[in-house]
């Protein structure tokens, strides 16, 4: 597997595009499920950047961070989906724009 000549900035480019797309998804979607998905996309983009940077320096740390990001994603999604269930129950909708009882 030697001689991987993919330029680092190309990978980072992909990752940043994923980041931006995820961010856009976060901003435009009103459905809480899609919002959580967007978060996953963004987490994934950060993971990609870490793995790429780790590879760039030839260190295992990037992959370790990636694994921890997986953990984080799992934990957050678990709680997040739990909340989704409660949202459906108490708000009768998944539209987050409706969850604006507190403001001002």
């Amino acid at each position: 597997m030697d001689g991987l000549n993919i330029p680092l900035n190309h990978i980072l480019l992909v990752s940043s595009l994923l980041f931006a797309i995820g961010m856009m998804g976060l901003m435009i979607r009103r459905n809480i499920i899609f919002i959580l998905m967007s978060l996953e996309v963004m987490l994934n983009s950060a993971a990609l950047a870490f793995v790429a940077a780790g590879a760039h320096w030839g260190q295992p740390d990037g992959q370790i961070v990636f694994m921890l990001i997986l953990t984080v994603a799992a934990a957050e999604v678990a709680v997040g989906l739990g909340l989704v269930l409660q949202v459906q129950k108490r708000f009768k909708t998944l539209d987050m724009d409706h969850a604006n009882r507190m403001r001002g």
Partner: protein, 491 residues
């Protein structure tokens, strides 16, 4: 891993153990008072552990740095957690049953905060922050009824996760630039990396700051604060305001100092902009807020703006580094104690009834619950930075540091912000002095009612004791700070 390391990790170990014991207890027999006792014991033990670990300060692997400074904040956070625990028992009981998970989450969240405080590495920062956060999401959404807690939790989760991703991405860029993940490593390599490619490093750092800024709720990442403060159960709000923010700020300072980020002009400019905006906008937002929890949320925005001044001062050689560290220590300690005092009162007066969070429901508190009212008054004065309170000495530190570093713009913003702040802190105090139907101090004689209220208050409740304790600490730090200053200087 040798024994020394284990000793140094004592608070973390104790907390983890407490979590495990709680799990076991819940699986054997669900009994929330037992769980409460176990949690309390665990936290107390961890407090002891924090003291014990002082003898063994050292870096523990690359991830954690156990030093006196961190242990002091660990202690502080454990105290805050204990206060939260006491408040949770008295005022927060969803449906009156099944709070075992809540206690477990509390312990886990504290654990996350401790990790965060002692973190010296990006990974421990991430894990600590997330552990604290994930547990908090569930704590916020813990009540089984009502939309507000849920709304608060989901907002906090989504926004916080978004901030975490930004932080992660920032670290990824820093990692790409330096090849280091530990603060010290970043500090070592940063100047070389900066010389090669300043943009990558600066962008990464800026993103990290944005992510941490979110947790500290500084402008422009502050929007979530009032909603989450309002929606969360009051003890949880208190926890969020003290433990979470305090730990994150400590982590930020570590990252800042050890990563030597104060050397970069553009970063300091950005941070100064954030600080100024926080001081002003936080106070402006609080100006006419009627809900006391939202008001405290806005005021916390301003307070972290004040604190950022100290970090910015790092980059100027005017102030001594020791003084800066002392300032952070003192201000954070004062802020945490004051906030706890405030939330202790809010929790015991307003409870979970959202209508009672309105300032108007504090009307005449002086005559109904004098101890609580006095405590809240002192807390407000401390927030406002009036002498004899801890908050004043804190502000004294910040202004001193700012002056020595000649940060005139920041000091101007601080002065303006504080001046605005006086207004809304005073509004609360004023509300407490009012009495219903008393249009003038002399015209209406409503003593009868007052006498009755006074009579009720002869019995001093546990909430009053708690309020008195916190009050004493705030006043003690304000009137006789010397021992604490010496102590902080040695950290």
């Amino acid at each position: 891993m040798n024994a020394q390391l284990m000793m140094a990790l004592m608070p973390i170990l104790v907390l983890s153990l407490t979590a495990v014991v709680l799990m076991i207890q819940a699986s054997v027999k669900r009994d929330q008072s037992v769980a409460w006792v176990i949690t309390a014991l665990g936290l107390l033990l961890a407090l002891w552990g924090a003291g014990y670990a002082r003898g063994f300060t050292q870096p523990v692997t690359v991830l954690l740095m156990v030093d006196d400074w961190g242990l002091f904040f660990t202690t502080l956070i454990l105290v805050a957690a204990l206060v939260t625990l006491i408040l949770s028992k008295d005022t927060f009981s969803p449906e009156g049953e099944r709070k075992e998970e809540y206690y477990l989450l509390l312990v886990l969240s504290v654990l996350g905060a401790v990790v965060l405080i002692q973190s010296s590495h990006m990974v421990s920062l991430l894990l600590g922050m997330e552990l604290m956060g994930v547990a908090l999401y569930a704590m916020i959404a813990f009540p089984e009824k009502g939309q507000r807690p849920l709304e608060a939790a989901i907002k906090y989760l989504v926004l916080s996760a978004c901030a975490s991703v930004i932080l992660l991405y920032g670290f990824a860029l820093i990692y790409a630039a330096t090849g280091e993940l530990s603060y010290a490593g970043i500090g070592l390599k940063a100047s070389i990396a900066y010389a090669q490619n300043p943009i990558l490093l600066m962008a990464g750092t800026a993103m990290v700051l944005a992510g941490i800024g979110f947790k500290l709720s500084v402008v422009p990442f502050h929007m979530w604060t009032p909603d989450v403060y309002e929606g969360a159960p009051t003890p949880v709000t208190g926890f969020l305001a003290t433990v979470s923010k305090g730990a994150v700020f400590v982590a930020l300072s570590r990252f800042f100092v050890e990563g030597q980020l104060y050397e970069y002009q553009s970063l300091m400019t950005a941070l100064a902009a954030v600080a100024i905006a926080s001081m002003l906008i936080g106070n402006w937002l609080a100006l006419r807020q009627e809900n006391i929890k939202r008001l405290l949320a806005y005021s916390s925005i301003a307070h972290f703006g004040y604190l950022l001044v100290v970090l910015i001062a790092l980059s100027y050689s005017g102030a001594e580094a020791g003084l800066i560290r002392e300032s952070i220590t003192f201000y954070l300690a004062a802020y945490i104690l004051t906030t706890l005092a405030a939330f202790a009162v809010v929790a015991s007066i307003a409870g979970e009834d959202e209508r009672k969070n309105h300032i108007a429901s504090f009307d005449g508190l002086f005559w109904r619950r004098p101890i609580q009212a006095f405590s809240l008054t002192v807390a407000m004065l401390s927030f406002a930075g009036i002498p004899l309170t801890a908050g004043f000495i804190g502000k004294f530190y910040i202004i001193s540091v700012g002056i020595q570093s000649q940060l005139w713009w920041l000091i101007t913003a601080l002065v303006i912000g504080s001046a605005i702040g006086i207004y809304y802190y005073l509004r609360i105090i004023f509300a407490m002095t009012m009495s219903s139907g008393m249009s003038s101090g002399m015209s209406v004689n409503d003593e009868g009612e007052d006498q009755k209220n006074v009579a009720q208050d002869v019995v001093v409740s546990s909430q009053d004791v708690l309020a008195m304790l916190l009050l004493t600490m705030v006043l003690l730090l304000g009137t006789w700070p010397q021992p604490f200053i010496e102590f902080a200087g040695r950290l």
